[in-house]
């Protein structure tokens, strides 16, 4: 339905404009002097009010032949054809209305003046319809601009949101404080390992801070961040944590969004390994197929863990970033089985 029909005040205003048209038309008809303007208005006002609604059909034409995607000749021909048809409709209504007037008030005015006015009426029909159509196209253009602006704004908000979340995810407080606690334990029992762990933690923090400021990194770089993270966790979890990597050199040269893999690896530890009494092995695999890069992180999980369906394991941030960056081509797929959790992300593979 035309949006104007849902807004009473706008509709009233619109009809007032058409009454003004009716007055103008009546004044033109009165020029030959065969009839008063008032009598002519009695004839034109109902016709114009009817035509006001007929002209709303321009809305459908405007939607069926949008300026942006239709060639201009088709837009013009569609509008001219529609205006001609509408005008014919107006003439038919005028003839019918005249019959009614004659029947209601026989002998009013000078007979035949209406017939003389028909060419004027036909021209008015065409012009007014085209005018209505032009206004519709104008409004549609405004609408389009506003929607585009809103979309851009929404994307911006999403991007910043992702950035903030990514920044927060960089330094998971559990990870940080538990690592410091491990160092604290090692200083007394095993000083060289304590020192090595301090250096690993420094590496991890330095890398994640520098990646946060970049647009893309190579998968190799992203993996070295994951490796430094896993090395630290290995000290914490000891032989409860096993790590397997399966990625070839070509895959490692691909460019990826920084910190896109890291939250998934952290999840695999936090919701997977950390929940298992005897731990398990995390497997990270990558392959490039049909121009797409697919990265998979697989971890064993406790069947009795709390599940939150839909969101997988709090990976919604990764999903949003992927769709923000790659649209429909960026995906996160999650397989949440009782004793196993697999998250895989895929997006277009780019090597530069």
């Amino acid at each position: 339905m035309h949006p104007l029909l849902k807004d009473r005040r706008a509709l009233l205003l619109y009809l007032l404009v058409w009454l003004a048209f009716a007055l103008m038309l009546a004044a033109l008809m009165a020029i030959p002097g065969r009839i008063s303007t008032a009598a002519a208005l009695a004839f034109t006002a109902p016709l114009m009010l009817l035509y006001a609604f007929v002209s709303l059909s321009a809305w459908y034409i405007c939607r069926a032949f949008p300026l942006a995607t239709t060639n201009i000749a088709r837009v013009l021909s569609a509008n001219i054809l529609a205006s001609a048809l509408s005008s014919v409709l107006l003439l038919a209504a005028a003839l019918g209305w005249e019959e009614v007037i004659q029947w209601l008030l026989p002998g009013t005015g000078t007979p035949g003046w209406e017939m003389e006015s028909l060419p004027l009426l036909a021209a008015a029909g065409v012009v007014l319809f085209l005018l209505a159509s032009a206004v519709h196209y104008l409004l549609a253009a405004f609408d389009l601009a506003r929607t585009a602006e809103r979309n851009a704004l929404q994307l911006q908000v999403l991007a910043r949101d992702a950035e903030l979340k990514a920044l927060r995810a960089q330094i998971d407080p559990h990870f940080l404080f538990n690592s410091l606690n491990s160092i604290s334990a090692l200083t007394a029992t095993d000083p060289p390992t304590a020192r090595a762990m301090t250096l690993k933690l420094a590496d991890f923090l330095r890398l994640s801070m520098s990646y946060g400021a970049r647009d893309t990194v190579s998968l190799d770089e992203e993996l070295s961040l994951a490796r430094s993270f896993l090395d630290i966790e290995k000290v914490r979890f000891g032989n409860r944590l096993g790590i397997e990597l399966d990625l070839d050199d070509e895959v490692c040269r691909c460019r990826v969004a920084p910190l896109i893999l890291q939250p998934i690896v952290e999840n695999a530890i936090g919701h997977g390994i950390a929940g298992l009494v005897d731990g398990g092995t995390i497997r990270i695999a990558g392959l490039s197929r049909n121009g797409k890069l697919v990265l998979t992180v697989e971890n064993p999980a406790d069947p009795g863990r709390p599940r939150n369906p839909g969101n997988g394991m709090g990976l919604s941030n990764v999903r949003k970033r992927l769709s923000g960056l790659y649209g429909a081509e960026g995906r996160l797929d999650v397989s949440d089985e009782p004793d196993r959790f697999v998250a895989s992300i895929s997006f277009p593979a780019r090597s530069v």
């Binding site: 606690n181 491990s182 334990a185 007394a188 000891g238 939150n308």
Partner: protein, 243 residues
């Protein structure tokens, strides 16, 4: 003083052990790597003091707390847990934030010694309740049976019956007794699945087979396994709203 250390990380237990070694009167009677071992060790060794990590596999520290009886003096240990730490502060529960200094450890130990002498116990149940408030509906019920712990997932519960100071959790033809009030359990279970159909009964709605009416306001729920449970008038209204 007899103590038990509970933490899933070797190194974290090592720090506690190291600090304890400065106190000749302390003997470590057990070290546990998870909540199950902790519940068992406390039941068997009856320690004076428990160092209890909050984040652990299977049963976390607060869940362990729920299963201890009697409750020894406890010092919670956590790396980072906003809600728990807030609750600890509010209810004067002793805790250590990892990593902690020797001084901080001595302070907490001293307070625990005083508690053991006075016999004062902080309001642990309030801590557990507050912890639940920040969690979504309970997905499992923990029940201690001697030194064993049963974990019954919410899906496996048929119905729960009030029995004096206990609730009897019925699951797959077995019944498990837990010292808790039916109203407390009702509040923590998912209200879309578990309905208080009677003063003494909570029903898992998935188990309902049909309703039978005997007289006005006298109805009985027939479960899929044939069990018959009474329905109060208020319970029937709730069922009606849900179905």
């Amino acid at each position: 003083m007899r103590i038990v250390i509970v933490d899933d990380e070797d190194l974290a237990r090592g720090v506690l052990r190291e600090h304890c070694e400065h106190h000749p009167d302390i003997s470590i009677v057990a070290e546990c790597r998870n909540g199950f071992e902790a519940v068992k060790a406390v039941a068997e060794t009856k320690p004076d003091l428990l160092f209890l990590d909050v984040q652990m596999p299977k049963l976390n520290g607060l869940e362990v707390l729920e299963l201890l009886d009697p409750v020894p003096a406890i010092i919670f240990v956590t790396a980072y847990d906003m809600y728990a730490v807030k609750a600890f502060d509010v209810h004067a529960v002793d805790y250590l934030l990892k990593p902690f200094s020797r001084e901080r450890f001595e302070e907490a130990l001293q307070r625990a010694r005083e508690r053991i002498v006075d016999g004062t116990v902080p309001d642990f149940s309030a801590v557990a309740r507050e912890n639940l408030r920040h969690a979504p509906a309970v997905e499992r019920i923990l029940i201690r049976d001697g030194t064993k712990v049963h974990i019954i997932s919410a899906d496996a519960i048929d119905y729960i019956e009030a029995q004096d100071d206990y609730v009897s959790v019925h699951s797959g033809g077995k019944a498990y007794l837990k010292p808790e009030a039916l109203s407390g359990l009702e509040a923590s279970l998912d209200p879309a699945r578990f309905i208080r159909i009677h003063r003494s009964y909570i029903l898992n709605i998935d188990r309902l087979s049909r309703l039978e009416t005997y007289a006005k306001d006298s109805r009985i729920a027939i479960l899929k396994d044939g069990t018959r449970l009474p329905i109060s008038r208020k319970g029937f209204d709730k069922l009606k709203d849900l179905l």
